[in-house]
């Protein structure tokens, strides 16, 4: 039975709770009664304090973990098991150490049975896009953190899933590379309109990229506020200089600040 209201939403969470059990310790409630509808082609940014359950939510959308209660839906159908249609960019890279940059970027295509010639071309294209052409035959252990992160981006773009789930993909990058890749992501998104859920700590980044920004409360994560990003598309980095940008930023910051203040950095469950 599909919900009429959710017809347009490609991805949704309905009253999702998630608690982690650790034997001998109190359960940790990471996500509490979270509901969210994401429309097809939308770019969503999720911001919130560290440890508030952002990665947990994304892992549930990818089907890596299941909720304690509540439902997660892709095209109105429950997500059961790992979902290849929701491609994940991991906070911790998760590159295969025994494959070269090229091998990693080709991996998704290889698994889908794409012919060697085609996948080589596509891999080449995305490796160049993230500026790693000279490193195509290196192994991940021979790259810097930022370079590895760029490989994960090339890998996900090459494998071309329906939904992109990105867990702080730019966190390890220097400011310049970050900006270049933000522009690139912006361009690709405006080109392809691929549904994207993007986690970041950086409000500027969220405002440059997103259509809507979801502010999560500190743990347990609930939707604290949803801010519609009214900045016009196509966007450019210079949008950050506009008055509208500053106003939106202070609006979002007021929600985030609230949460950071309210909870502080001390988490009572941890001795």
């Amino acid at each position: 039975m599909k919900d009429v209201k959710n017809k347009a939403s490609i991805l949704s969470a309905q009253n999702v709770f998630k608690s982690y059990k650790i034997s001998g310790q109190k359960d940790i409630l990471a996500v509490e009664d979270l509901s969210l509808d994401i429309n097809e082609g939308e770019f969503i940014c999720i911001v919130g304090a560290s440890g508030c359950g952002k990665s947990t939510l994304l892992n549930m959308f990818a089907g890596f973990i299941s909720p304690t209660s509540g439902r997660l839906l892709l095209h109105g159908e429950p997500i059961v098991g790992i979902e290849p249609r929701c491609g994940m960019v991991f906070q911790s890279y998760a590159l295969l150490p025994w494959k070269t940059v090229r091998g990693n970027v080709e991996f998704g295509l290889k698994m889908k049975g794409v012919s060697p010639k085609v996948r080589r071309e596509r891999a080449e294209y995305f490796i160049d896009l993230v500026n790693l052409g000279a490193f195509a035959d290196r192994y991940p252990s021979e790259l810097s953190g930022g370079m590895r992160q760029r490989v994960t981006l090339a890998r996900i773009f090459a494998s071309d899933p329906e939904v992109l789930l990105m867990d702080e993909p730019f966190a390890a990058l220097d400011a310049m590379t970050r900006q270049v890749l933000q522009e690139e992501l912006l361009r690709i998104h405006e080109d392809q309109r691929k549904t994207t859920v993007f986690i970041t700590h950086n409000i500027d980044e969220a405002l440059v990229l997103a259509d809507r920004i979801i502010v999560l409360s500190s743990r347990p994560g609930r939707v604290k506020a949803i801010v519609k990003n009214t900045l016009a598309r196509p966007r450019h980095m210079t949008v950050q200089l506009s008055k509208e940008f500053t106003e939106l930023k202070s609006e979002i910051w007021s929600f985030v600040e609230d949460e950071v203040r309210r909870h502080g950095s001390v988490t009572p469950e941890y001795p």
Binding site: F64, P84, C86, A94, L96, F107, M111, S141
Partner: protein, 296 residues
């Protein structure tokens, strides 16, 4: 292998030496070595080799001295010269090669069969718990059993031919290979398996592309340890019942009271195992190219 020991620990001395005006290109450290010799010695391969060689030479010298001067009777400890004599004779008569080849063939057959049997099984019990449950009791019972305890049964079943030696090697190695493989399989980072599945990999692809290569490094380390165990198995088996091979060689020499030959046999076993180890290291490099930067 850049290890900590190779770095000069006492380089502070270099800082107090003033720049040398006429030898601009000469590194400071070398300048120091003229004054404070030992401090700035670097553990370069040449120096390490030199020290190693001198320690062996000293050992041989002392050995020669105590035997030649008659401080120790030759029946207890033959002189290094008589051992060398035996070595030369072994090479000349061709007995050495016959023994080395006989033992090596047994080791590599038994070890090879154990690898073929235990590596796939180890991966299977690592990824599929019912297989683990089936194997667990056997592993627990067989692991503490020294391979030498299989000698009576194996002779009863297989006689004293090649099959029996190979069986002893097999029984002595497969449990270890299985355990190393299992452990390495378990240690493959689960996030990599998630990532692969997220990129549409099916069960078989996960095994081939993630679990096997992820475990390979650990499996090979295990094989290197197990290969040494295989060698001790074959030597034991040959000492008990065989008419050729390195184990038989030293056992027969003992019966003839030929102590120099016993010692030479031991040296030959050592050298053969070293060569086998070296071959394993080569194979490892070939199979694990992504670890090249860890080796330099």
């Amino acid at each position: 292998m850049a290890t900590l020991e190779e770095r000069p620990i006492l380089t502070e001395a270099t800082a107090v030496v003033p720049e040398n005006p006429d030898g601009k290109d000469e590194p400071r450290a070398r300048k120091v070595s003229r004054h404070k010799t030992f401090r700035s010695w670097k553990a370069t391969p040449a120096v390490t080799l030199l020290i190693g060689l001198s320690s062996v030479a000293t050992f041989l010298g002392v050995w020669a001295m105590v035997t030649e001067l008659g401080w120790v009777k030759p029946v207890f400890l033959p002189s290094p010269m008589s051992v060398l004599d035996q070595g030369i004779r072994l090479v000349e008569t061709g007995d050495l090669w016959v023994s080395v080849i006989a033992s090596s063939t047994r080791v590599f057959t038994g070890f090879g069969l154990a690898v073929l049997f235990a590596v796939p099984l180890g991966i299977l019990i690592g990824v599929w718990w019912p297989a683990k449950a089936i194997m667990d009791p056997f592993i627990s019972l067989l692991r503490p059993l020294p391979s030498i305890t299989w000698i009576p049964l194996s002779i009863l079943w297989l006689g004293i031919g090649e099959a029996q030696k190979i069986a002893i090697v097999f029984m002595g190695s497969w449990v270890y290979i299985l355990l190393y493989t299992y452990e390495s399989t378990k240690r493959v980072d689960p996030i990599l398996i998630r990532a692969a599945r997220n990129l549409s990999a099916n069960d078989f692809a996960v095994m081939r592309e993630v679990v096997l290569p992820g475990a390979l490094s650990g499996i090979i380390s295990g094989l290197k340890v197990t290969l040494a165990i295989s060698w001790s198995c074959v030597i034991t088996a040959e000492m008990v019942a065989a008419n050729n091979g390195l184990g038989a060689l030293i056992w027969q020499a003992k019966d003839w009271g030929n102590m120099p030959l016993v010692l030479m046999g031991m040296v030959c076993i050592s050298l053969t195992v070293l060569v086998a180890d070296w071959i394993m290291v080569r194979i490892e490099r070939l199979l694990l190219p992504w670890e090249r930067n860890l080796r330099e």
